[in-house]
Amino acid sequence: MKRFIGFVKKEFYHIFRDRRSLFILFGMPIAQILLFGFAITNEINNVDIAVLDHSKDATTKEIIYKISASKYFSIKQMITHEADIASVFEKGQVKAVLNFENDFSKNLINDHKATIQIVTDATDPNTANTISNYVNAILQQYQLELNKGTTTPYQIVSQTRMVYNPELKSVYMFVPGVMTIILMLVSAMMTSISITKEKELGTMEILLVSPINPFQVIIGKVVPYIFLSVINAIVIVLLSIFIFHMPVQGSLFLLGLESVLFIVSALALGILISTISKTQQTAMMISLMGLMLPVILLSGFIFPISSMPVPLQIISNIIPAKWFIIIIKGIMLKGVGIQYIWKETLILLGMTVFFIALSVKKYKIRLE
């Protein structure tokens, strides 16, 4: 055990004395999360919208006034026919159309209920979602004012209709994706490089000739990265909570456990890569091409899996990151517990066990 602690200590020296690895470890997660966070901003400003007012009464006028008075929207066009909705969208003039039903005021007074439809262009799903949320917020406020001192509340019902991408399937929440990439990068690439470095420098041979157990060598190399990856995951979650106000709906404990599982699977991949590559450069190339690209392209992080060609959809199943993203999206965004993600967890666990077994086998062969 003392031997092992000495070994782990040495690994930390390696990491902390190499500026490049320090940068990858700590600079990159922060830079990425900030970049993604600000590039995919949830703020909207002066978004052009059109209005289709079928009733043209006092209430609709008031609502239209409220909306145009907010800094978020500017009303570009008043249209008169249902058919114009498609054409304004196609021309790209507006991002949303507010469609008031016939006899809006009358319905509100008689039935205490009137309906407005918010039609948004969901080719940019984030903006579409945000627009609908903002319009709803304005409507809610108006409704509150309207209901002051009334016994039977008036209700303005809004129906959101997304055109072009109705189910918002391409909504990629950047935090789960970035977290996956970072953990993959730190765990798999950094370990594979650090192990091949020992091979390249010839120190691995010295270690193998020494009485230290070869598996202790590998575990000793991996432990610091587990530790640092966990810190990274925590930093990412904290950044997203405090800078981007992204709520974590589910259990942080479960999130932590799932992250450790994913980290271990990535580490096993890193070990596997190190057994097949002779130089640090090869290890880096294999990690980048073999792990990072699939994670970015096929995990559903940026490009929705559902809109990929079928062969790619099938391939995406063998990418651990895909399952991890589903899991953490579930925990972070939907707040689900293990009962909803046990299947994905089991798949990830199976993959982890498989990768560990495979890398142990490969490593043993190499020792012969």
Binding site: E205, V209, S210
Partner: protein, 242 residues
């Protein structure tokens, strides 16, 4: 087992598929001896050595190193031998002291012993001033000497040196051989591979491998006589040409 013999090898063979890298070699090495293990590149030296240091399992034959069997007791062998490879193999990004501490720890030495050893070692090598500097900043010759001392840190019975003087200037090579002699005088057996034939002359006994077989084994003096050659280089050339 003959107590005087720290390495006993009989019919040791290693095959990779159909290729016989080491072909039934037989020899033994006495305690405190400097044993030169010579051969051209690809003759099977490194493969043979890997079997002796317990990181490669032989296909056939028997070998006993430091009193332990290479098949069953590789872990015990590892505790009792030191090894220095042709590549400089200390950690560049650790200081001299950290390297010594690390390798001492790997061999299971206690903290006190490591401290004591590292003081002695640093003084002997004259590295006091650079003890807390990164190894990367040292000249190659110093690194090589440090590397050798680290290989001896746990007082191994046998030290295996794989082309230890590759790429080192003649003066350092000389100093290096002085260190080898000192270790041998203190009772450590030295098993050294080299392709510098002048270095072969420094060895007590020399074996020469050609195509996986040991073709000659004796003291340098007797070998020169046997092959009617002036230098070990000539002996080697005569053997290599067959």
């Amino acid at each position: 087992m003959d107590n005087d013999k720290v390495i006993q090898v009989e019919g040791l063979t290693k095959m990779f598929g159909d290729f016989t890298a080491v072909d039934a070699i037989t020899f033994d090495v006495k305690k405190g001896e400097i044993f030169g293990f010579l051969g051209a590149n690809g003759a099977g030296k490194t493969t043979a050595m890997k079997m002796l240091i317990g990181i490669s399992i032989p296909t056939a034959g028997t070998a006993n190193v430091a009193g332990f069997d290479v098949f069953k007791q590789a872990e015990d062998i590892k505790k009792n031998i030191g090894y220095m490879s042709q590549k400089f193999a200390l950690y560049d990004d650790l200081t001299v002291k950290e390297n010594i501490t690390f390798f001492g720890g790997i061999y299971g030495l206690s903290r006190n012993v490591i401290k004591e050893k590292s003081d002695v070692l640093i003084t002997e090598l004259g590295l006091q001033k650079v003890a807390n500097q990164l190894v990367a900043s040292l000249p190659l010759g110093w690194k090589q000497k440090l590397s050798f001392s680290v290989a001896l840190i746990h007082d191994p019975k046998i030290v295996f040196l794989d082309e230890p003087t590759g790429g080192v200037d003649p003066i350092t090579r000389r100093q290096f051989w002085e260190m080898i002699y000192k270790a041998a005088n203190e009772g450590t057996t030295v098993f050294v591979t080299t392709h510098y034939m002048d270095e072969a002359e420094y060895c007590d006994r020399v074996s020469i491998m050609v195509n996986g077989k040991i073709e000659a084994l004796d003291t340098p003096k007797k070998l020169k006589k046997q092959f009617n050659a002036a230098t070990m280089n000539d002996v080697f050339l005569k053997l290599a040409r067959g």
